[in-house]
Amino acid sequence: MLATIPSATLLGVEGRRVAVEVHVSSGLPGFTLVGHPDPVCREARDRVRAALLSSGLPWPTKRVTVNLAPGLLRKVGPGLDLPIAVGLLVATGELEAEAVAGCAFLGELGLDGSLRRVPGVVPMVGALDARAVVVPVECAAEAAVVGRLRVRAAGRLAELVACLRGHDPWPDSPPCPPGVESSTPRPDLADVRGQPVGRTALEISAAGGHHLLLSGPPGSGKTMLARRLPGLLPPLEGDDALVATTIRSAAGQSLPPGGLVVDPPFRAPHHGASSVALIGGGTAWMRPGEISLAHLGVLFLDEMAEFPRMVLDALRQPLEEGVVRVCRARASVAFPARFLLVGATNPCPCGEAGPEGRCRCTDAARERYNRRLSGPLLDRFDLRVVVSRPDVADLLGGPPGESTEVVAARVAEARERARSRGVGCNAELPAGLLDEVAPLAPAALAVLEHQLRVGALSGRGLHRIRRVARTIADLAGAGPVVDEAHVCLALGLRADVVPSEVAA
């Protein structure tokens, strides 16, 4: 007898529908699993057998063939355990085919018959075409995020079978995705003492989506500033929240209690991260990398010059396109990766390089250190700021600065203005649109002309400065014309922070 159970598997951050076909016929007892399963999926046979027996259900002494269609798609992970078990029960007549009609199944089985959590429930449920889906209890909230299907949760295989047979009522539906509400407390900007320029740069970065590079000696507060950036970004809404949730789910990471990810993510990979960990990919399972987990949020690279240069340069294409295409022999996957890049670096290995001549590094060491940050990558940073150690008096008793709440309100307003121009943020303004949305006051034009004339600014740099100046004007609540002050500040926040070779 044949049974077909709908389910899904994961490819990158997308779910793909899988039909689990179970065929039971007379013949020599045996179990064959076909349809391109990966090693973990292939082990389903042993888990399903033990789970059925421990749940008091029979294991057929017949010839069993399980096919996972479509055959070309590689099925990863243990999520197909449950559909295989249910299919087997239907095929052997333990369950009525009508009882499972229109219902999809997802979940890993334990040898004792319990249902376990699997990664990527959000994208997999999102891909299903069914009226209802049965998932392990732990994943119920995650599955409910999608909202399109009726979600039924089950804790054990025996309970599930009883419900399907109609012996027991289904347990209560899991709670609907609760209201959009930030859960975890975020560090507040008011904690930052002094650092007026660092704070300004942070605000501009959040408002305009401009990538930010902080350079300064150890202990100057680079990391402290960077950690306060996601709090300034507006919360994720609608599709954005769903995409962020999907990526997080696909990476097998736990979701916030509400299910939906509404806080802009903040990812801070260590500088030992490999290029696959950062970009995505992997052999067993196309996993989203850190840059995709930071999608719509902040990717913070602390000690940026300690990252291998190859890893850093791999960021250039996603920075430009907002998407990273990972191509492997088996599959090619596009991961969303539109993130705000914040880099922090010391000016040299000892961290003390500066105009005072206090640095203890050799010339060669300093050059080697700075070569890690390639010119094209540095060019992606619209804001490059020197952070100096705050004054002792400020640290101990200075007045607290503006709080995150106050600044975030200004940021939200500035972003609203950017949206009225048809872009998500000012960093995305096309160059052709700049004359229209960011016309320059005569004094501002004179400043830029001087910079171009002395060779301090290139043509591309000019556009970047104008975008940043637009953001500064938006934050200041200025009119459509970009003023001298806005342009000057934009220039000042684009310092040549990485020491270039200084000929004597």
């Binding site: 002094g194 650092q195 007026p196 320029v197 660092g198 300004t200 350079s215 000016p347 500066g354 105009p355 005072e356 001549g357 206090r358 640095c359 010339d363 490059r384 700021v385 020197v386 952070v387 100096s388 004054d391 400020d394 400043v447 001087h450 500064i472 200041a476 001298e484 002050a485 806005h486 000057c488 500040l489 220039l491 000042g492 310092a495 040549d496 922070v497 990485v498 020491p499 070779e501 200084v502 000929a503 004597a504």
Partner: protein, 399 residues
Amino acid sequence: MGSEGPPGLPVPGRPKAVGAASSAASPAIVHDAPSPGLPTEAFVAALAGLPAMGHRRLVAILRRWSPEEAWRRAVEGEADDDPCLAARWCAAAGEVDVDGLWRSHLRAGVGLLAFGRPGYPGVLADDHQPPGVLFHRGDPAALDGRRVGIVGTRRCTRYGREVAHELGRDLSASGVRVVSGLAAGVDGAAHAGALAAGGAPPIAVVGSGVDVVYPRRNSQLWADVAAAGLLLSEAPLGAAPEAWRFPVRNRVIAALSEVVVVVESHAHGGSRYTVEAAAERSRTVMAVPGSIRSPASAYTNALLADGCAPARDATDVLVALGLVTAGPGAGEPRPEQRPSPGPVEESVLDALGWDPASLDGLVLRTGRTPPEVMVALSHLERDGLVASRQGWWERLANG
């Protein structure tokens, strides 16, 4: 550059094996009886390339024998009383092709001044630690005239670089030869200044071979100094810039200078070797005063505290040379030609002072907003009153 030569010729400073040399299509080489046409200098160059040949040993040998005789003894293992060293030299000398070595010098346009030979500078011949040989590019006649050494740290501040440049420029324009080490930082700035003035020819004493440019980014400066003045080195062609060569080099700078000016130096910088060598030779040492907060001026300020004369400008140095008598005009500032700053700019300039400051620091010191400060800085930068480097703002001196 040695590797560019035709096959069969030895790479300078790296003696080639006999077998390899004779197997190639080069003229037959006779080691024991060199061709009679070779100048005496060729043997000095060969001697200088022997292992463990410092300036003391080379001078001792040249005092004892003629270079030809010394080379013959080196080949035969009789060049030193210490049999170990003599054997080492013998083994090394056996593999040197003097003819090829000399031709590589000629090809590179490198001449040499040998101790005890005509053309050797008298000021060095009288020294108690004279160099046995000085390889040179450029015209040795550049040594004739008044000479001032300008030395300092490689890790200089903008202040140090500017002062070195001004001193080099003004001294050269006054007909004084600037002697320095052509290193990064102060040395290079002094030479760049001397070249900019186009006055007296600059003299550089370098630590590596004259064909090994170090630091490499100064290659244009090396070429310019060699073209306009004189490039000297005790090290044979191809010698790498090893750390020990620099203090040794500094004594030559001190010996060649009548006055040594230290522009900027850290507490334990290499300039103290130059200053010690100058003191041993009773040369006048002058120091450029710096901020007491600047680590790059720690040693120069200490020198001033010890009683060195301050060098505030070229006039101070010229007075020390006896070329100008200190009069009322000495040390007077040049007329200010830059536009005078507005009130906001003035306050930013006051807050900046003469030490580099970050934008953060200026915002805190002036109590103004970042945009206001940036507008003022951009005006000041346009007018040439301040400059920014790597995110730091510095006030520019007049001149």
